[in-house]
Symmetry: D3
């Protein structure tokens, strides 16, 4: 199979150890991550060929971000080098009823100031059969939005499947701005994922009050009807506490609805759940094992990711498959 290409921003995440607050931290744990990068890292651990497109500054932090991608087996040969700084985000992990908090410090980053001319999509997409992006990339700035659009057009021309994680971020742009940029992109998109709230914020799918599963299905159907996108996967979070949740998803393939298994999860690290779900979804769809397997595998992948420290899933397909294929889980392997 071909390469899976993704386009997005790599950030340094700075988080205080454990449950410390930002205001009290005297040290930060640092990892390099980003929504689309997380998806590729997950896919690479499952054995897929992946290629990440971004812009990084020529300094030790930009190089460390590149090294992190290489570490996990993602091809970085199409990184555009330049710009003034690496974007950051600070993460304060919540607990019980204290909300987690993300502070973005990514304005003026190498990627936020990227220009479309920095990415030669014809070269980049050679050998690719899948292109992935999220709603964060076009939110970074005009240049990124335009570059993403060019990528979508080039992908379409080559018959490459395109997936989009809606990923609305209120700290990056308004709902109005988001819709004005994202909706026109939908004509190039084959697979959408997100939540029914994302469907509203990003795609203007307004629903009357209803249950969570009903809302997922209604959003998926509306996306199909309005934007002609056949496949939608909707994640369903039932909040027990800031770090405890019920977790499930539905996949709609233009015809039927497929419900995933359901988990009750105590989360180790709150970031990257959707990215791991996206990776599982892409893996499942490419596997040819059908929609039921796909939604189960994607849910298992995203559930596993929540047990790991960091923003991405380090599980191999061998680890995920038993959870996708059976009811239970194993306590210990020894």
């Amino acid at each position: 199979m071909g390469n899976i290409v993704a386009f997005g921003e790599m950030l340094m995440r700075l988080s205080p150890p454990g449950y410390q607050r930002l205001i009290q931290a005297s040290s930060f744990d640092a990892i390099y991550a980003g929504s689309e990068a997380n998806v590729l890292i997950s896919l690479a651990q499952m054995g897929c060929q992946t290629k990440y497109v971004t812009r990084l500054p020529e300094n030790p932090l930009g190089e460390a971000a590149r090294n992190a991608l290489r570490h996990w087996g993602v091809d970085t040969s199409h990184v555009a080098w330049g710009g003034k700084r690496l974007g950051l985000y600070y993460l304060e992990q919540g607990a019980a009823l204290r909300a987690s908090n993300v502070i973005y410090d990514r304005a003026g980053s190498a990627m936020a100031e990227a220009e479309p001319s920095m990415f030669d999509w014809d070269t980049i997409l050679k050998g690719a059969d899948w292109f992935h992006f999220s709603g964060i990339t076009p939110a970074l700035g005009e240049g990124c939005a335009e570059a993403a659009l060019q990528a979508l057009r080039a992908a379409k021309k080559r018959g490459i499947t395109v997936s989009c994680d809606l990923n609305y971020r209120a700290k990056l742009w308004t709902v109005e701005k988001c819709r004005s940029v994202m909706i026109p992109m939908m004509e190039y998109v084959d697979v959408v994922l997100g939540t029914s709230e994302d469907a509203d914020d990003v795609l203007d799918i307004q629903l009357p009050p209803m249950g969570m599963r009903d809302a997922s299905i209604a959003a998926a159907e509306a996306i199909h009807k309005r934007y002609g996108i056949t496949i939608s996967a909707m994640m369903q979070r039932e909040s027990r506490s800031v770090i405890d949740k019920g977790w499930s998803a539905v996949l709609y393939d233009g015809g039927a609805v497929y419900d995933s298994q359901h988990y009750e999860l105590h989360t180790v690290d709150i970031v990257g759940t959707g990215d791991a779900f996206a990776a599982g979804l892409i893996y499942g769809l490419r596997s040819g094992r059908g929609p039921q397997f796909t939604v189960n595998y994607a849910l298992a992948a995203s559930a596993l990711e929540q047990t790991m420290v960091g923003d991405y899933n380090m599980a191999s397909a061998e680890e995920i498959l038993p959870l996708a294929e059976t009811e239970g889980f194993q306590d210990i392997k020894r």
Copy 2:
């Protein structure tokens, strides 16, 4: 509004990392804290003017304790300097069914050996409109008990509102000794907080077996009747495990009973819950927003504090208010 003054002992807390036991620790995390200091630190984060009165030794540890207060915005201009050592306490955090353990090492501390003459309450209380202390301060020694009494008298004379956290500590004194010192102080007290067990240990309020809420109300009424104290706030802990609990409170204002919301909490750090409640109570009472708001705000503050590392609440009023005013909580802000 005026200053909130509190009088108590600042200790260095030494706790092994994570769930390690004292007997196995090869390092200790250190913070500077104390019941009344915690109350003021919490209030300062909510925007109140606060002033802490204590005695600290003139060495790097005493200075570090002072610096910690300044760090969080508490006025330390009335610290009395002198004495031989800073008091310590060792904290071993429990888990599941293993009890948390506190070892006090505070005998002979600067504060335990304080004399009443070291504190000039007329000067200290200038500009103050609230005075707070807990049952720990008089337990430290004769000098502290006498100084506290002088403070109470000076406060009364100036028409300053006085709040008292009953805070019985079995490792510091006996129930009998405690009652003999604390009960005479009640004539100066306007607001009492604690649990119905504290009411028994400290104020000799003996109740027949009954449910937790009933006991809270009965204790509050008895405090009113016996000591003439109108406002009592009673915290209610339902123990699920050593670090999981149901958490609620009632406020009695001499007429009606106000029930707080109820939370189920997984605790990050077990110390300081009552102090955060006290701060929330004082903030609520001073806000003029009424008893229902007050008990809700105090409960929200104490619940949040349990999600933080350390003995005090680092939440601003802006963080606490949504929990006091609504039903739910937010998962993540991004």
Copy 3:
């Protein structure tokens, strides 16, 4: 009372901090532990005289393993010195539905290459009245299995009580090999502990599908009938998540069945539960306080161990007794 002697391998356990995975670790926490050593360390904290028999290499790691035993009060005067390396195991702690993972790196260890002639059981067992081993020791190699058998014979000759933790380890040997070695040892064993799965893997006790408690009883009765072993203790784990469980046990004494109390536990460190149970069982049986106390005490000990960092129980008998004798637990001691 006499010494409690145990025979087994001491390993260095290397585990990444917190919930990190092995593949991402840049540091490892190190402790020295092993099934039988853990049992003795637990017993020593309860005030028993203990003596550990093993083989350790003459290098800083072997010496550190010996020091760890001395640290906790276990007699190491019969350690056999020699061999090429200290065995290791890597522990990745799981969370939610991600299984914990153990990687053994113990081939070629000093103990695995031990010869029976290195252990003079007549000398070692002088003054002993109890001998303990687990199914791990004979799995290490021919020499260990033969040495264990000689120990059993010597113990029998001296009238020493023998306990065996079945402890089947699929990564060390096959069920067939295990049974061929372990079953002949049963004639020397007085007390067996494990799970009903162990009873199948180790002792060929095959049961039809049935409930967990029924299986425990059926296994215990079969062990009694088939191997003449009167006392069997069966642990019962109900898996809620990888680190949450229902926890109970039954003790069968050849006549009646004694059910322990039941706990719901959130586990701090997953290793050593069975070893702590074994220690509690041995302590209880030696106490003369009868089977009901014994199974309660053993369960309480193993429950407490799961709240501690490391492979062994650091609780004194004074800490365990209240849990064995009453219903509840205490939140904090201060």
Copy 4:
């Protein structure tokens, strides 16, 4: 005596533990510091009244920076709140012949985007008798340069003594730009400090090749002659390795030259030496103990600072005085 006011930017410093490189770091130690803030923190430890003027963002990092100043006793009542982000700098500490490396990430910071109207110097300077700034502040942007100029004029009007640490930073601006901004400010400056290289970069004092002490004196004399500034203090670094140096200074008071003592130093943390020297210089000049004491005290202070972790001197005057007044040092106090 009056307040010492300083104006500058507070940054978060992120440095990898020990001698790790930025490119390999998986965690960063964080402190809040800045050239002028460091000077005030040092002075506050010596017992001086200090007030820091800056602009900080209204987020947990801005608040933490403010708290750090309060912690050390610096008055923060004139912080201007607002702006988008807190400036950062990354510090990689060098060793042997590997140079230390600083990466600034301060563009777009709250302070860099400050406007002169945000600082009401008439109010700020009430009660002050000293104003300090360094060449970094005007380098941050037009607004900062203009605000600094207004501060200088207001100071002059009030007869406040002004000290300036030349502090040329090649990563912030060019020599040409620097000179064009800084030279006009010299008419308001009473005390200058730096190195003879700074004198060239900032004040266009070009010297023929000569020895280090000669260059110091020549620069000081030129500053006197050209800019009418009587007091110049020049630091003299003889580089043995990246973290080992010979360390001395000269003070010129418009008449005579005063040589400090000389130290050979192995540096614990490379940042803040000049700031600690500035603080010592200010303290010495205000003490009225004369130029020889002043240069000795300033050198001792800056030498001590190099033995401490962080950017500022935590030594009290009591610690510094013996080094300023005698030849030797003490090994241990016990």
Copy 5:
């Protein structure tokens, strides 16, 4: 050979990581140590039988102190249990010209409040042939001083060799008090060690100004003449910086003077040098290899100790001997 018995106080040492100051520490590394305990731990690593006599409180910290001794192979069967607290000391390690600082917090400790009746020297000294103490033990209080005197008398009666490390501590007592207690003990002492400054402070040996080696010899001769003690070992520290020193010693045996080798040392951890020297001295004297070997071995041991983290020497005799017997040292063993 017989047991080596020592009598002293075991403290918990709390030191900030690396070169942090006490005033800035947010965590402390903890070890359990004490002058005489350090000597025994060193000797145990060299293969000697050792027994430590002290008093420890019955709490997790007292038990941890006991465990540390067991860890390193020291017999703790004669620890007296009781008292209120474990003594502490805070250590701030200096650097360059910043002095190291020790803050004692040992008043009211279990040992400081020990009574002579708690130690049954006849039982304790059974099987012993050497008794060691330092000047710290009698400084702890009347009870300790009296108990030490009783130990000395009991030792003398049994013909046990007695060594005394003079170890003057200005923070524990005055020179006058020290002399009044220590001088009368000298009649029981066979071997003295310290510095010529100690000889003055403790034994009132006042010397005119002279070189360091001359002072050592003069002090040793005076000790011989005045107190009849034949063997004196004098350590000689030439201070290059707070953590760099020239290091040598002389041994006087009542006849000749034996000079050790000389080292230039960069110290890793500043505490315990004299204790390691004492251990080396005792080992050398017991070895029968003569005074030159003894002083070389003691110096090598104390030099090695300074390269280790903690208060005691973890080197085996096999590691020390090559340094005592040859000129050089080895870089790496691989």
Copy 6:
């Protein structure tokens, strides 16, 4: 230019933090490294194309070792997967006169049990123009030695330049065994590096007593004469302490001798110096800038490596060149 291929074993290095000893460590820092891997990692940072050949076990540790190579940009597509374990080594860093200590735990590793048939050199060497190995690889076992020989023959056939770091390891084999394996390999080697001691241990070059530089030259000449190898680079270490050294090298090119610059170095991490020198040597020889540049560059690279934490040089060519081309170094870049 072509690929640089190297063949060797990748180990996990476990080292206690700071200057802790192995016997006291409760945690280990872990990195993945190995002599030939270190050379390639260094070369990759300089911008060279590199390919590493080894055998790794299919478990998280083997994968982590592969990831580390990818991280730094080394091609791992020819790793042979299989075997039972990853080899380890424990490193205790020395200080002052305490020797560093390496404990190998690599017997039975995937690489030690590798068979020649696992490596298809014709495929591997396609596109390569340089092959590097050290004396460690053939020491691992018969299979490795034979595979190395086959690699040498394949390299020779293709006209690939071969470099060999003599690297004698006394803990892996005897001098006799080493010579019998290594000397026959010399006919394939074009460039040799090491020390004059290595030349004796590995190549049987016995020299009469002489100065260090004379010995370097004599060894190089003997290697030329006896084995026909034109280029030899000899490193020269003058030991000041275990972690302080004088550092220089000579390069002999069959005609002239080229002396490098000389450094005095305080070492941050003792391992990998020779590997960094090898990488610098290879880079210099391939650069075409001549022997004087080459030896200077190699020495600068190896000096820089000693300032870094870990076994390999993370410096780019841009960082190394100024040291190779000039006399001095820079203190700080800001």
